[in-house]
């Protein structure tokens, strides 16, 4: 059986949570106060993660897909489990959609999106085929590289003399209701996707330390978000940050140290590609493992190819343009999918498992 260490879980969680959030500008709707939105979202998001980990502790050794049939029976339980699997496949498709637009808008405008998406998907297939241990080890190596790049980028941004921290003032100048818009629903619900990591929690070597590890990664992610929001607003100003599709990409484009170190756009795309790679690999792993656990099939490998083809095709036909793609993510996904599946259902499950566990202890 495959096993990952708690440190590997920490790195995988950071990559998973980061995903495309940083590139699209977290809490951008709050304008210059986006960093406050990020901080509040991180704290409330940590509570959501606490809820998920509590459910896991009440059901040791079981994954997200196995929780539901245990408490809601074979009929309703397996329907709910399948809902999570279909949702995970939909989320892989959304990541494919994100990549499709970012790559064609930024570095490969003349290349057919089908070509690079297929190549990228082959990479994901290979990583999932290799197993979660391999994904975790690759993440460990790449993590240090990315953190070094972020630090170098910050130094270059400072060296470009484009930062004006007075753009962050006045703090909460547009009122707390603007900050609240950045917090709910998108801010908090970005953290709720962490429930899908419950598919790899049973594989962690020290399950009793999962809460500590996951909370540490949530706060690391929150720290990066806040720093990025501060840098982006200080360099670009509130209106460009708010209206840009890819504020991180725009921010990196501004780097110009002595008119010598310029055009570092590729670094921005590298961030996205790396984060999306790990996020999609974990989604794919969760989907195929989930299908294997819910069906009487012993080997999950046979599901990798069908899931990849479905999500690739779905991602390509999903949205005709980037505006519509983002509109679905901002207006419909949080209320119609995230709230019922990532907040309401886990909350009900928490209450049911709490009562059952208590009853079992009394008996």
């Amino acid at each position: 059986m495959e096993r990952i260490s708690n440190y590997q879980l920490y790195i995988l969680t950071v990559f998973f949570q980061t995903g495309t959030n940083i590139v699209f500008g977290f809490g951008a709707v709050a304008g210059r106060d986006a960093w406050i939105s990020s901080l509040i979202s991180t704290c409330v998001g940590a509570l959501l993660v606490l809820l998920y980990v509590s459910i896991m502790h009440m059901n040791p050794g079981l994954s997200l897909i196995q929780w539901w049939p245990k408490y809601f029976g074979k009929w309703i339980g397996s329907i709910i489990s399948w809902m999570y699997i279909v949702l995970i496949v939909y989320q892989i498709s959304r990541e494919v959609g994100d990549l499709k637009f970012l790559i064609s808008i930024t570095i490969l405008p003349k290349t057919s999106s089908l070509i690079f998406l297929s190549v990228f998907m082959l990479l994901i297939i290979y990583s999932v085929y290799s197993g979660v241990e391999v994904i975790a080890r690759v993440a460990q190596i790449v993590f240090y590289l990315l953190v070094s790049l972020v630090i170098i980028e910050m130094i270059f941004l400072y060296g470009s003399k484009i930062m004006d921290f007075s753009r962050l003032m006045p703090i909460a100048g547009e009122g707390w209701h603007t900050i609240a818009k950045g917090v709910w629903p998108i801010g908090i619900l970005s953290f709720s996707e962490g429930i899908e990591l419950a598919m790899i929690w049973p594989l962690v070597k020290k399950p009793e330390k999962i809460l500590k590890t996951t909370l540490m990664s949530i706060f690391t992610f929150g720290f990066f978000l806040t720093i990025f929001d501060v840098l982006a607003v200080a360099a670009l100003g509130s209106s460009i940050f708010k209206n840009s599709f890819y504020p991180l990409y725009t921010l990196i484009q501004q780097i110009s140290v002595g008119q010598f170190i310029t055009n570092l756009d590729a670094i921005g795309v590298l961030y996205l590609l790396t984060n999306v790679f790990f996020r999609m690999s974990l989604y794919m792993f969760a989907a195929v493992r989930g299908i294997q656990q819910i069906t009487p099939v012993k080997n999950s490998i046979i599901f990798i190819l069908p899931v990849s083809i479905i999500s690739l095709c779905w991602g390509i036909i999903m949205s005709p343009n980037i505006s519509e793609h983002i509109e679905v993510a901002v207006k419909y996904f949080p209320y119609n999918l995230s709230t019922p599946l990532f907040v309401a259902l886990p909350f009900i499950l928490f209450i049911v498992s709490f009562i059952r566990t208590k009853k079992y202890k009394v008996m």
Binding site: W82, I85, T295, P296, E324, V328, L337
Partner: protein, 44 residues
């Protein structure tokens, strides 16, 4: 009727905001039924 085949598209979601979750529920029920049938034949 044709638009219900693509419930993830924005023009469908604008008219019917719950179209996507209904789609996911319907697909899940169908997959669950297939699983029960397969499981039954597997046990036999």
């Amino acid at each position: 009727m044709k638009e219900f085949l693509f419930p993830w598209q924005i023009h469908v979601l604008k008219k019917y905001p719950l179209a996507l979750i209904v789609f996911i529920i319907v697909v899940s029920i169908v997959l669950a039924i297939i699983t029960w049938i397969k499981e039954k034949s597997h046990n036999h």
